[in-house]
Symmetry: C2
Subunit: 347 residues, 2 copies
DNA sequence: GCGCACTATGACAACGTTGTCCCCGAACGG
DNA sequence: CCGTTCGGGGACAACGTTGTCATAGTGCGC
């Protein structure tokens, strides 16, 4: 068993990190030969290579990628991913998918959470640019992305995920928010609901606004009209969702169905309704784990985090491979997964 | 509205990235003065600084961190995090916590998923070392970590999370696996259960093995004895969990209660039992979202992903701050959250 | 024995930044 | 008027690596 005390502990001599120079000296060759061996370049005598490898092993040499990247100037082998919150299952799914694609292309992923703060998004993105990431994947928090123009001009491809950029034309991967909520309303209307409420996120968030639009279109198309009194937008914690639902149910003409605008709101709603006697029909945007095991199982508009991450990463790598076509906007389909909560008639 | 076509698109001149040299030339100063301005060093005349800043802005200059890190030699401002799967909610919680602490210390986090593959864990860790991360947080996939010795000796602190390293003494943050399953068994026994089964992950995974040990200790202590026939270990997908449960229930002396070894297994078990008429009592290791909304709500041994990430990151940064004390082993407590599924008497 | 091709290796500069040292000119005291 | 101090700024080397080019040695055909 090898034992080793950590950094700085008594009794362990802290050693300077070996460089190619040290390896070269030990192996009795020039530094360039070490470089050749490390990079698997042809034209090194097997015996020499062996000596070099032995020296590398003995010294625990590991090549300094900062120096390499500096010298080579081109790829740093990294891509940056700026999202809202790595802790959110939706985004961690996105992260995983991006990582997967990046791995196939031999790239590392650096992530950062913006927490919906445009300043933080900018800070992270530019930090990544300073690190000379090969490309940038961004879930926009704000609407202004002019700060990226010099970076894009310098050749760093940027792909926006989940929401479009405000003032820059670039590749974007979205999900069909409008179609999703419109489908939710149509679905509920087909079961006879005419008072369908919508609980959405703050309307300055692109997806929230789109989903509201889809809801409105759905209402109009179903011939049940759009009524502002049935819409509650805003940042939603559990308590405010509870209150909103109470308000909708206690109204003179109460809502018999609810469409929720994202998975957090859906979960809050399910929790709020768990005890109550009379339950409105429910369709939520975003699928979530265990939705099928709740009672009743929750009907959702599902879209795939992996697909989103994969599509964005594919787009990014296509750009890195030299694709110079005009910016693309990809809209991923959603699908309604009927599980029970949305397939009930008004009571 | 600023429009800009992406990388390489027709009509956009791709521009070489500006360096301090370019800025210096434009501002009519020396490169060193630019460096001073960029680094907020004192001793630059305000008027000069203004000229430099204007040039920086005009050229879209962004300093190259590779060059900076190379020259300065010390901190790269990054920490590496190697875990099993960023997509797993438990680890994404860990990631978020680590990111949070790192942010406070002005560091970026680079993550990678090992998928329980020791080779991949090694590859990722060493890749991060090549990037000269300031420190490394690792959820071990394998048992051999000797490959880290040169890195640790060179001053890169390493903290192991969730599982200990196999053959290296280093800081480690664990959760109380043994105490957790022991408590689960005691809890079930207190409701009169004497045939308590255990469904765990493959026993070569440290946590799975520990939890099995806790289960066994719990059985012995409760005076109900340890019976191998009640234990099913192994990698578990939904189908195999279903079969294992059927086997346990159809036995001559069927199990009346089940302890599941991690959140994936718990969820599979809940799904498998969803339809069945007679349900064993259930306590799962790991809490999961919506556990309280299932029917019955699932009793779990909860431990906090955030706490784990935070403790590990705190330890790492303490080392970076020069803490040279002997390696520590931190064991985080778990707590039993009674929700219903574990509080039923044998039928 | 001579030129030639070819293999194996090395010398050197350069990547973009920052630390060290040095210099110029203005202000100031005697 | 001279020496000293100090604020502002520049020259230069160095970080660790790799691309370019050069060179020594070897084998081969004639």
């Amino acid at each position: 068993m090898t034992t080793l005390s950590p950094n700085g502990a008594a009794g362990v001599r802290k050693v300077r990190r070996a460089t190619m120079n040290d390896v070269a000296r030990l192996a009795g060759v020039s530094i360039k030969t070490v470089s050749r061996v490390v990079n698997d370049e042809a034209g090194v005598h097997p015996a020499t290579a062996e000596r070099v490898l032995a020296a590398i092993d003995q010294l625990g040499f590991r090549r300094n990628l900062s120096a390499r990247n500096l010298r080579r100037g081109s790829s740093t082998g990294t891509v940056g991913l700026v999202l809202e919150d790595v802790g959110n299952p939706f985004y961690s799914g996105v992260t995983r998918a991006v990582e997967e694609i990046a791995r196939l292309r031999g790239r590392q992923v650096i992530t950062g959470s913006s927490d919906e703060d445009p300043a933080r998004e900018r800070e992270l993105s530019l930090e990544f640019c300073s690190r000379r990431v090969d490309g940038l994947l961004i879930v926009p928090a704000g609407l202004q992305h002019g700060y990226l123009v010099p970076e894009m001009r310098a050749g760093t491809p940027v792909v926006f995920l989940d929401r479009p950029a405000g003032d820059v034309v670039a590749d974007t991967v979205l999900v069909d928010n409008i179609g999703g909520t419109a489908a939710a309303v149509a679905h509920l209307a087909s079961f006879g609901h005419r008072r369908i409420a919508f609980l959405g996120d703050a309307p300055d968030i692109f997806t929230a606004n789109e989903r509201l639009r889809g809801y409105r279109e759905g209402c109009v198309r179903a011939g049940i009209g759009y009524h502002e009194s049935l819409v509650v937008m805003g940042p939603h914690d559990e308590e405010s969702v509870r209150k909103a639902l109470q308000g909708l149910q206690n109204a003179a003409d109460p809502a018999t169905a609810v469409v929720t605008g994202n998975n957090r709101i859906t979960v809050h709603a399910v929790r709020a309704l768990a005890g109550s006697a009379v339950r409105p029909a429910l369709v939520g945007f975003d699928d979530f784990e265990l939705a099928d095991l709740l009672s009743p199982p929750v009907t959702v508009i599902a879209h795939d985090a992996s697909a989103l991450g994969k599509a964005a990463a594919d787009l990014l790598f296509a750009r890195l491979d030299g694709d110079g076509s005009p910016p693309r906007r990809v809209v991923l389909p959603v699908r309604l997964v009927a599980r029970g909560s949305g397939e009930v008639r008004p009571s």
